[in-house]
């Protein structure tokens, strides 16, 4: 007997009887034809009418699936999964001032949220203070405005930072914002060794998709490695990168592209850390991932299962990791913002529920569920409560969290999981050939692959080949929802004035000394002695604003602007 879960004789009989069945199916179609010319996933991957053991006859349970918590981790990263602890319910939140967002954090915690996730406004994301000329009109609109360590203190007031884990979606300025978080936590009496959380800190996907651009790729990677190195020694419970497919997918990528480009970004970070002299088993356990859960239910589950298996194999085979922990694709999931519709917004609850269910069946470690009004704006309290309750209903009422990886062994899900891995690995080989992700980005390769997929999807929608209810089928007008949140345009002046007053009170000598040290480290060759993090912590504690630190980066490292290709 070779490998596989079925005997030769079973497979022979299956082959015969499957052909017989196929004949009957074709006959039946003569009476009533298939309702579509072609059946495919939202990513346009074609699917057959029926899957059988024949589709997974090459699979070996022990090699390809394994038990939960065991290599290759297809069935889950922990042995117990949701039997012992549910996923972390982590709603992405940020609006207006630090106080407004703090109020939202407390509201979410009171309603049963179990982890925090911070959305920053665009100036903060791009390394600008609220008073920067380019920041006009943006303050607090798509997240919270954080200029100084004082804002950071207000943001987390009344929250126990050793008990709650905090995720922060911040990329080029990640080191600066993390320094503010650590400095503030220490000012409040917490121990940095006990702080748990995540900074997104995934600069590569910014060039590929999210376009929060500040520095060129090479120095961006240097700063990422600085944070990984600092975390490894100083903040051991922190996830120093959240390698993100979410934004790649939202930009229009297929599920396979999301999987492949994200995993390749991960490969690049691991390579860069090893080049710095870090040992793979010392840092890889703190790398985490972030997936999109789009509307095509089985495709998403397959993608998440494939991601675990791919990452485990890559860490073991390509990087020779020894510790199982280093091989784990632990991940956060967010339901797909781009699947929501402005038309008939209450339908978004159903979309989000389906996507959240896929994330749970895909074995996510934490989850954000989009609110029905998130298609217009930052969500209102009423809408965000429904979104959080969606997770709680899935967790406590439906029974879906009672059995680990319940879809394993489904001929379709296993075959689709294999297909995801196979097609993503083809992209990975292509990226290797192109000379790695930085070279590929410079060639505009992943960017244009995504643009092609986005354009193709839009054309399929226009031709009616992909259906969006309320948009191209049963089209409907967009209503004005009564509970859409408004961010006051006046907040900007308030925040500018507050930061101005903060700056006046700083000890100029102490600040200058800290900034000089930061500059010295940035200008020096990358190594532990020149790691920016200790200098940044001193600088922000001495009152350096986010933009002051980022301006220094821009001066030393240069800037990067969007090439604007389409």
């Amino acid at each position: 007997m070779g490998k596989g879960m079925f005997s030769e004789s079973q497979l022979e009989r299956m082959e015969r009887e499957y052909q017989d069945w196929l004949g009957e199916y074709q006959k039946a179609l003569q009476r009533l034809p298939e309702r579509l010319e072609r059946f495919s996933t939202v990513s346009d991957m074609e699917v057959k009418s029926l899957y059988t053991p024949l589709d997974i006859k090459e699979k070996d349970y022990f090699e390809d699936l394994g038990f939960p918590g065991q290599y290759p981790f297809t069935r889950g990263v922990q042995p117990t999964m949701y039997r012992a602890r549910l996923w972390t319910m982590r709603m992405f939140a940020g609006l207006g001032t630090a106080e407004d967002t703090n109020k939202r954090f407390h509201y979410l915690i009171e309603h049963g949220e179990t982890g925090l996730s911070t959305a920053f406004d665009f100036p903060t994301l791009m390394g600008y203070d609220t008073d920067a000329p380019v920041a006009r009109g943006e303050c607090g609109k798509c997240g919270v405005a954080i200029d100084t360590i004082d804002d950071m203190r207000r943001l987390f007031a009344g929250i126990n930072l050793e008990e709650v884990t905090t995720s922060m979606t911040i990329n080029p300025p990640a080191s600066v914002i993390w320094a503010m978080y650590i400095a503030n936590a220490e000012n409040e009496g917490y121990d940095r060794k006990k702080l748990g959380g995540t900074i997104q800190n995934d600069c590569l996907k910014e060039f590929i998709a999210q376009k929060t651009l500040m520095l060129p790729p090479e120095p961006s990677l240097r700063l990422v490695v600085d944070t990984v190195e600092f975390g490894t020694y100083e903040v051991p419970r922190w996830n120093t990168i959240s390698i993100s497919g979410y934004h790649i997918r939202e930009a229009g990528a297929t599920a396979v592209q999301e999987l492949a480009f994200t995993i390749y970004d991960g490969i690049t970070y691991v390579e860069e850390c090893i080049k710095r002299g870090l040992k793979v088993d010392d840092f890889a356990g703190r790398l985490s991932f972030f997936w999109n859960s789009h509307i095509d239910f089985f495709e998403e589950i397959a993608k998440m299962r494939a991601a675990r298996r791919m990452w485990a194999r890559i860490m073991k085979e390509r990087f020779k990791a020894q510790k199982p922990r280093s091989m784990l694709c632990r991940f956060h999931t967010q339901t797909a913002g781009c699947s929501l519709t402005a038309q008939e917004p209450y339908n978004n609850i159903i979309r989000t529920t389906t996507e959240a269910l896929a994330a749970v069946l895909g074995g996510t470690q934490s989850l954000h569920t989009n609110s029905l009004d998130e298609v217009y704006m930052i969500p209102s309290e009423e809408a965000v409560r429904i979104a959080l309750r969606t997770q709680q209903i899935l967790a406590d009422e439906t029974g879906v969290a009672n059995v680990i990886d319940p879809l394993a062994g489904s001929y379709f899900v296993e075959a689709l999981t294999d297909k995801m891995e196979e097609e993503a690995m083809a992209y990975i080989r292509k990226l290797d050939e192109l000379g790695g992700m930085v070279a590929a980005i410079e060639k505009d390769y992943p960017q244009m692959e995504i643009a092609d997929a986005a354009y193709q999807f839009q054309q399929q929608v226009e031709r009616g080949e992909k259906i969006i209810i309320g948009v191209n089928k049963f089209p409907s007008e967009r209503p004005e929802l009564e509970f859409v949140l408004r961010i006051d345009d006046e907040l900007e002046n308030f925040q500018i004035e507050r930061t101005r007053q903060f700056k006046e009170k700083r000890d100029k000598v102490k600040l200058q000394k800290a900034m000089d040290e930061l500059r010295r480290r940035c200008e020096g060759p990358p190594c532990w002695e020149n790691n920016v993090m200790p200098a940044l912590i001193d600088a922000v504690r001495a009152g350096a604003t986010e933009q002051e630190c980022c301006d220094l980066y821009r001066e030393v490292f240069g800037t990067y602007t969007d090439p604007g290709t389409f």
Binding site: F122, K211, Q458, D562
Partner: protein, 139 residues
């Protein structure tokens, strides 16, 4: 009599928002429709957008935004066009806007606002109907 030149369109992303999926899709749709398209890329100030529009001698600017900062950037683009005697460059917008903002944007001279769900074909047809090459008039 000279032949009418192709319509020249600038697709621009004002502000710090990086959501460029819509901008890049519409840029391709305009190109496929036979227009000449220039795309600014993300993170443009109103000043940069108007400068590019004038330098590139475009007939139409399409502003794409998702962040809510249109309340500053859209009026500023209109102001700058006026200051530079380039009011004959038409401006349209695409993205997410509170419903109450749409009449205000039209009142300052934005010719049309396309919301989520707008069909590419409809946008292209709107442009064909409403926008004519400026050169034809000047020459």
């Amino acid at each position: 009599m000279s032949e009418e030149r192709k319509l020249r369109i600038l697709i621009a992303k004002p502000g710090l928002d990086g959501h460029d999926r819509g901008a890049r899709v519409i840029a391709r749709a305009f190109r496929d429709a036979g227009f000449e398209v220039i795309y600014t890329g993300c993170h443009q100030t109103p000043e940069q957008i108007v400068n590019t529009a004038i330098q590139e001698d475009v007939d139409l600017i399409g502003l794409s935004i998702l962040s809510g900062a249109h309340r500053y950037s859209f009026p500023r683009v209109m102001e700058l066009l006026k200051e530079n005697n380039a009011e004959d460059i038409a401006v349209i917008g695409g993205g997410i806007f509170p419903l109450e903002d749409i009449p205000k944007l039209k009142a300052i001279g934005i010719k049309e606002i396309f919301e989520p769900g707008a069909k590419l074909e409809d946008i292209v047809n709107w442009v064909r109907t409403h926008i004519k090459p400026r050169k034809a008039m000047v020459a």
